[in-house]
């Protein structure tokens, strides 16, 4: 039984069958990659997991509980954090404030009316946030506007913000898309470090095979909305069906 169980999920957009009978099981403490050519339904699947879309049929269970019908913030509080393709951070706020918000969210829940206390007098939260920034090598930038950071640092901050909530499952949607090689490698190293140091499961959607093969323990190949194969990275590399899906019949 995996921490995330997707069973017979179907999703149609008008005449387009975006997902057809998707079954997926992500084992706890593993790094599971979902790959596939453009239009394979990777993003649709991810959106079904985090409450942005609701599947037409099927079930999505996280740790034995259904996520379907729950709002994104409720699913997040169950222990699923998501990293977006373009880093979603609070650009107008300082880097330190960015890091403090998820810690507040973890402590106070979806809403708390704490309008009189002073933000920076919350010593514990400031400390935790500073520690987190330290471990991400972002401590020097803590008073900068988050929007002013480089793409790579924004990504590090976003991943850090997700980790600050101590999620059990971290979902990453093409975390290295549009990044320079050096930033990509930094991100890979960061994810490896997270995997080693934390009690966490990682599911990653990725185009960049370099990233996939340096991180993943299991890979699911998605094509035209259905899982084609699921196996270890070594077996996937030479799999004829995978080559076919990526390169077309001619290959």
């Amino acid at each position: 039984m995996g921490i995330l169980e997707v069973k017979n999920v179907n999703k149609r957009f008008g005449g387009l069958q975006a997902l057809g009978d998707v079954n997926l099981s992500v084992a706890e403490h593993s790094v599971h990659a979902i790959i596939g050519p453009n239009g394979a339904g990777k993003s649709t699947l991810l959106n079904c997991l985090i409450g942005k879309l609701i599947p037409d049929t099927g079930s999505v269970m996280f740790d034995g509980q259904s996520v379907l019908g729950r709002k994104p913030y409720q699913i997040n509080q169950m222990g699923i954090s998501r990293v977006f393709q373009t880093p979603e951070i609070f650009g107008d706020l300082s880097v330190l404030e960015n890091m403090m918000i998820p810690i507040f969210a973890k402590r106070d829940g979806a809403f708390r009316m704490h309008a009189i206390e002073s933000t920076f007098n919350e010593k514990e939260i400031v400390e935790q946030a500073e520690d987190m920034l330290e471990s991400l090598n972002l401590a020097d930038a803590r008073h900068d506007h988050a929007a002013a950071m480089s793409r790579g640092n924004k990504r590090r901050l976003e991943i850090g913000m997700c980790l600050a909530q101590e999620p059990r499952l971290l979902l990453l949607d093409e975390p290295t898309a549009g990044m320079a090689r050096a930033d990509t490698n930094n991100t890979i190293d960061l994810l490896k470090q997270i995997k080693d140091e934390r009690d966490i499961t990682i599911a990653i959607i990725e185009h960049d095979m370099h990233v996939v093969f340096s991180l993943a323990e299991r890979i699911t190949v998605l094509a035209q909305g259905t899982p084609l194969v699921e196996d270890t990275p070594d077996k996937i590399k030479g799999h004829p069906k995978v080559r076919e899906a990526y390169l077309g019949e001619a290959a």
Partner: protein, 399 residues
Amino acid sequence: MLGLDKKDFRLLVIVVALTMLAPFLLNPFPESSGLAQFNAGYPDLMQRFVIFGIFAIGFNILFGLTGYLSFGHAAFLGVGSYAAIWMMKLVTLNVIPAIIMGVIFAGIFALAVGYISLRRSGIYFSILTLAFAQMSYALAYSVLTPITGGETGLQIKATDRPILSNLEPGEIGRANLFGMDMRTSFELGLGDWLFTFNSGYYIAAVFMILAFYLSIRIFRSPFGTMLRAVKSNQTRMYYTGLNARPYTLAAFVISGMYAGLAGGLLVAMDTQAGPERMFWTASGEVVLMTILGGVGTLIGPVLGAGAIKYMENILSKINKDILHQWFAILPDGIENFLVTIVYPFVGKGWHLTLGIIFMAVVIFLPGGLVEGGQRIARLFGRKKAKGDAEEATQSTPAE
């Protein structure tokens, strides 16, 4: 100090000093000089400065922090006014219960309007709030005439007998604070200067200082940080386990209560309420005040409110005769020419001047008057010492 850091505390002290010394500061010109008409230190106008300052401070908590542009905030001001005047007509002529009622009713009304309007964001939210405000105006103007007095509004009449008052038969009740009439003034003549200290103004000023202090606390609180997070990125908020809706609704209700406080104070100072207070131009005015002063800054809305109310009351009083006096030294032809040129911008045309100033501020000083002040301060600061500049770059950008 008072739970504020050094910088905020200094700002609060400045605001306290300015409001307390306003009767002096706003009357810089001697009575007999031609410039006396630019004096703004008379009670009625000073009261407007601080009351609309409160209105704008509250509006800024919603617009400045969350970025939700409400175009119907005058409705809450109006509801606060009606609630306050009914309290005075029926229960007591003391202003405190009236003001509290104004705040409570405006808060309840804001809860209802906000609950519905906040289902949408951006321009749709603005339109929804505008629609609500215009409906409220229409209700107050005609449909609810028995409650609102329709077009003529409500005043305290000789027939009103508040239960907690002992008026002589036929005596018209007057607003008071534990017996002190709002219109009591103490006049101080110093040479050619005349300064007026009005009890109503000082009561309103104390409310404004409290409102300003509360807004600083909200700005610097985790709640304020969350509101800025709403403005910055709602997607990230939802995927961080936070529900943006109650945060925006709370901000909406708080700013509605500020508007209710302003409405209650208007009634306390001048015991009447009418539907024109809820008209959409009144809602637009508070938007202008906030933007003119500086959106999202602490002091900006107060400055904006002051600037607009000053122009509305002082600039609009300048007529053709006064202009002729000013340019009297010049040859007749030039005098008439200048009067013709300037006249459209003063008197009834003061809106034209306001419009030009507003455009200039939006284009050249997007941060409003506050940004203008900062630029001037920097201009002088640069000459001072380079150590200061270093300190400035290290300070937090969280303004």
